[in-house]
Subunit: 622 residues, 2 copies
């Protein structure tokens, strides 16, 4: 274990020998740009090593200038840690998720800096016998153009007379929506902050924005602490259904997490947390219910109705979040129980509803959410993919972490599988992307047939090169495929294998998403060829190998691989848009009302579509 | 002291020997109708004596039927208490203040029963796979015609799923404004109540209304407990200015008083207090500030600006009023620091802004508020009359209570003054109406000249009949007028006299109001002859003898006595209108914005007008 200290955060990370700085930073919530998937070619991830500068990697030598190399610049994805390091991450290498604004063929959204919370410095005319307007009316009059229909709570009114008179009616007014939230003596403008969150079932990421400049100042992330009550939302829904106490407990956990993230961001940016006036978040519908301590029970059982699906604005203090005393929380609207605020957020981030060309938006996760549309119409559906893509239910499944097999290919020279693990560590299991890669490879080399059946050992010996055939092991339920023998694993306790059942789990997961895509195309009355772009969103989606995705038939074959784009954490981007520009809220609210939702379980043709969708490409009915 | 028990309240009142049941009930906040001023002719005040039935009074014999007399019905204004009594007040004799709706030549306002809080019973379509609207949207859809743009707090949403499903989506929704405040299983309609208050500096009166029928169910009144911190609003303003603790203390007192009144009303009407969802009140601007714990300091010093003057709506719980958990308080808007919500309330009660004819509205009290207008325009001003009309600053001044001289006339036969005291008790002092009556009489008989000077003793002997002359006593500061010699007073400690200074105090008070009236007429550009009605409002105004008011020149001489009308407690009526019909709120808010306010102290011509206004009729400059 080595210690890598990151500047300018001044944060230390414990790193296993051989892990890259890029991976280590990701783990620690310090996000770095990357476009090549960490293979050392895009140069977006450069960092500057300040102490113990190691020799440059071959990719570094090829892609960086000699001056950069001399100054200690290295590609963080190639920079393996073999000693303690001091590393500075230049602003240009930071990944904030905004690259979405310029990818996907869309014009960048017309985001103004027009946040819901604003500050105005006013010099009011002094009261006199011929102008006896009340103190509040005097202020409201001055703000009428910027904040029409101003209202105020009692606390603010109670202080108003004193504050106005302390410096001859020169004051700074902070206005949230229509509401006066603070009046301060003199000109105190310039200290208004907001937090935008992507509240995922697994991970929560928060971003601190300066709402007077629009600049993003810091980000921080945490695992969702509700995981203690269930890895997926359904399990948490069951727990929440037990009673109000349990709902309060789940709320307390997630809000505590939001609080920690806000505190970390404010500390990093040296922003006073009591000046954070506004919070936005996108989350799936169940997570949103849990943030508000509402019972999501009826989302989880047919006919899957949420209590609430609109946008919601509430004082932060009402959910226990302690920022400015007057901070408000804005939850992005859901379309329904399974198309939540994370998806509506992604839609505005990608400008989906403004595009001329038909575009498919897919968020790959435990639930695959699918939106198909353009500026004329949007239709959505949710596919219950299950947790296979996150490594759960897979015999040697693992989250994407050090030692997880994340890439599997076929080595033509060796005539065998080639495996890659995160951090180049001894392997411990397979993560979701590795699973897709593996199955894509199995299909290509013929270890698995297009129906999803693993070859039997005899069959394998006949049809496959010896090394591959040697990996097929007989088992009680069909055959297993050996990835790593026990002796080469980290724990050295058992072989890492993918079983027939693992392949079936993957088929179910990819089949669900593919069925959703097929159904959306069917409802629209088009084929994949009519789709000009496929935007793949979600933390997981980011790491999928496009060729592998096509190889397992995640998308119809008439969607060509060049149409796939990875749009990263679009849920966070939409939340940031709504934080920076209140007009984006009207936009997302209108969108959420207008988008059509297809309940797959309510369609008679779904079973057929799903059965077909589970098959791999090349399957022909005999 | 005797005990009178009142039915159906079952309330016992301690009564001095000889006090009337009418007066005793008034003191106890049980209000009885009267149109003749308590002289036994209108018969509106009849009550039924149930135990210890006394002989009928001469007025009773003259005005009641023999059957009524047999059944124990008596005129309460003539019914003097000389023993314990059990008395029932029939509903027809109750005074609720509504007579204003039909007096003053105005059409009754078009009051609908359309309160801000409403209940709806709904049977919602059940959720199914082809109708997955959220629970809230399902309810909002059903209420869209009655309650468009429905919103909801978190607490209500948290309960919603359970409540809807307990009886197959048959629920009763209670909606306050746009906000869903309660959803109950099944049909529970019919239990929605509201309180309307007139919050006076001296007295607070509250009325309980059934908001499903519009019926008034009960009233109760209390002395304003803030009186402990000052009899008038200025003294309380000084106390409030000491700090937030003091403001909280004053708020606590007045809100405690509102709470007691609400509890008493609910007990009388057997209405559950937790079903009181809405509160309205009219109060002067300082009282309104104190209800909300705002510092009224700057209203009391030039240029007299309030912190807030608009209508205000706030959860009742925020000011500490404990009714329904979701009750809201609506304060009627002020025009400015000295024309408050009591006056805007009176204006809508009297339909002032809808009248064709020019009408003068005057609220006589410590501050006289004057509104002149019709449907084309309304102008207002406030005249600082001071407390003389309430008996303060007058050497033998007394509030209107037992033993107060309330009527003074000239007995032609005796050639002397004739005095009347409340309750026919031995006199203890002079109340405001008695003071006006007395001075009117002094002017008529020549004891006081039109300049306000009391005759000197020599002059008196020369010009006046001997008994009157005998009442003029020499003193250090001009002459005194003897009303009652020591031996005939209750306490037998000193003569009751009105001094030259007392007369001057009355001149200041009436001069202020008269100057306000004159100034309003001047600004409008009309004379008193153009005014078709003078509406006199306020508890005090109700008891003024119109002829005496004219005799002291409270109004310009070209306003004839037949134009005067007494409209009672119009502040309460406006509050009730706003409780019963939310459209009245828009009306009063528009009115408050549009009404013009003349700041008398800001006018150069005011000093002259005021000097003239202090003189009595008949004064000619020498």
């Amino acid at each position: 274990m080595y210690r890598v200290k990151i500047l300018p955060e001044d944060k230390s990370i414990d790193v296993l020998d051989g892990e890259t700085v890029f991976d280590a930073c990701c783990r620690a919530g310090i996000m770095i740009q990357s476009a090549c998937g960490g293979v050392g070619t895009c140069t977006k991830c450069i960092v500057q090593v300040k102490e113990n500068v190691p020799a440059p990697s071959p990719h570094g030598i090829r892609n960086l200038s000699s001056t950069e190399i001399e100054q200690g610049y290295r590609l963080s994805c190639q920079l393996k840690v073999h000693q303690d390091l001091l590393v500075e991450i230049p602003p240009g290498s930071r990944f904030y998720g905004e690259q979405i604004l310029t990818v996907g063929g869309a014009s960048a959204p017309d985001v103004d800096l027009d946040p819901n919370v604003r500050q105005y410095y006013c010099q009011l005319p002094l009261p006199e016998i011929h102008d006896q307007a009340s103190d509040f009316d005097r202020l409201a009059r001055a703000l009428v153009a910027d904040a029409p229909d101003l209202i105020s709570g009692l606390d603010q009114l109670r202080e108003l007379a004193e504050v106005l008179r302390e410096n001859d009616f020169r004051v700074t007014a902070t206005v949230s929506g229509r509401r006066l939230v603070k009046t301060e003596v003199g000109n105190t403008r310039g200290s208004v902050f907001g937090m935008a969150y992507d509240i995922g079932t697994t991970t929560v990421v928060g971003y601190l924005l300066d709402l007077t400049t629009g600049k993003e100042l810091a980000l921080a992330s945490r695992s969702n602490p509700q995981a203690a009550f269930g890895h997926d939302v359904l399990a948490r829904g069951d727990y929440a259904d037990k009673g109000p106490e349990q709902r309060k407990e789940l709320q307390h956990l997630i809000v505590g997490c939001l609080q920690e993230i806000a505190e970390e961001c404010c500390e990093k940016a040296r922003a006073p947390i009591e000046h954070v006036y506004e919070v936005t978040f996108g989350g799936n519908t169940i997570m949103t219910h849990l943030v508000f301590a509402m019972n999501p029970r009826h989302i989880t059982v047919s006919p899957f109705t949420p209590i609430w699906s609109r946008a919601y604005r509430v004082p932060a203090i009402e959910i226990g979040l302690k920022l400015s005393r007057w901070a408000t929380v804005y939850a992005l609207p859901s379309v329904g129980g399974y198309v939540g605020g994370d998806i509506t957020s992604g839609i505005i981030a990608c400008d989906l509803e403004r595009r001329d060309d038909l575009t498919l938006f897919v968020d790959v996760g435990t639930n695959g959410e699918i939106v198909l549309g353009n500026k004329t119409r949007l239709i959505s559906c949710a596919a219950p993919a299950g947790p296979a893509f996150e490594g759960a239910k897979i015999s040697c499944g693992l989250r994407a972490m050090s030692g997880a097999i994340d890439k599997v290919s076929y080595d033509e020279a060796e005539k065998d599988l080639a495996l890659h693990t995160i951090g180049h560590h001894p392997p411990r299991g397979v993560c979701g992307t590795g699973l897709i890669d593996a199955v894509a490879t199995f299909l290509r080399v013929g270890m698995v047939d297009p129906g999803g059946r693993v070859l039997e050992t005899d069959e394998a010996k006949e049809k496959l090169p010896p090394k591959l055939a040697g990996r097929i092991l007989a088992s009680d339920n069909g055959s297993d495929i050996l990835l790593v023998p026990k002796a080469k694993t980290l724990e050295r306790r058992r072989d890492l294998t993918l079983t027939q059942r693992d392949i079936r789990e993957l088929q179910l997961a990819k089949g669900a998403i593919r069925a959703g895509v097929d159904m959306a195309l069917k409802v629209w009355g088009v084929s994949g060829a009519d789709v000009s772009k496929v935007l793949i969103a979600g933390g997981f989606g980011n790491y999928i190998n496009p060729a592998a995705a096509m190889a397992i038939g995640l998308f119809p074959p008439d969607i060509t691989v060049d149409k796939l784009e990875f749009v990263g954490n679009s849920a966070a981007v939409g939340a940031k848009l709504c934080l920076a520009d209140r007009k984006q809220r009207q936009r997302v609210e209108r969108l959420a009302r207008e988008i059509e939702y297809i309940e797959l379980s309510g369609r008679k043709d779904f079973a057929d579509v799903f059965m077909t969708a589970m098959l791999f490409p090349g399957y022909e009915e005999s």
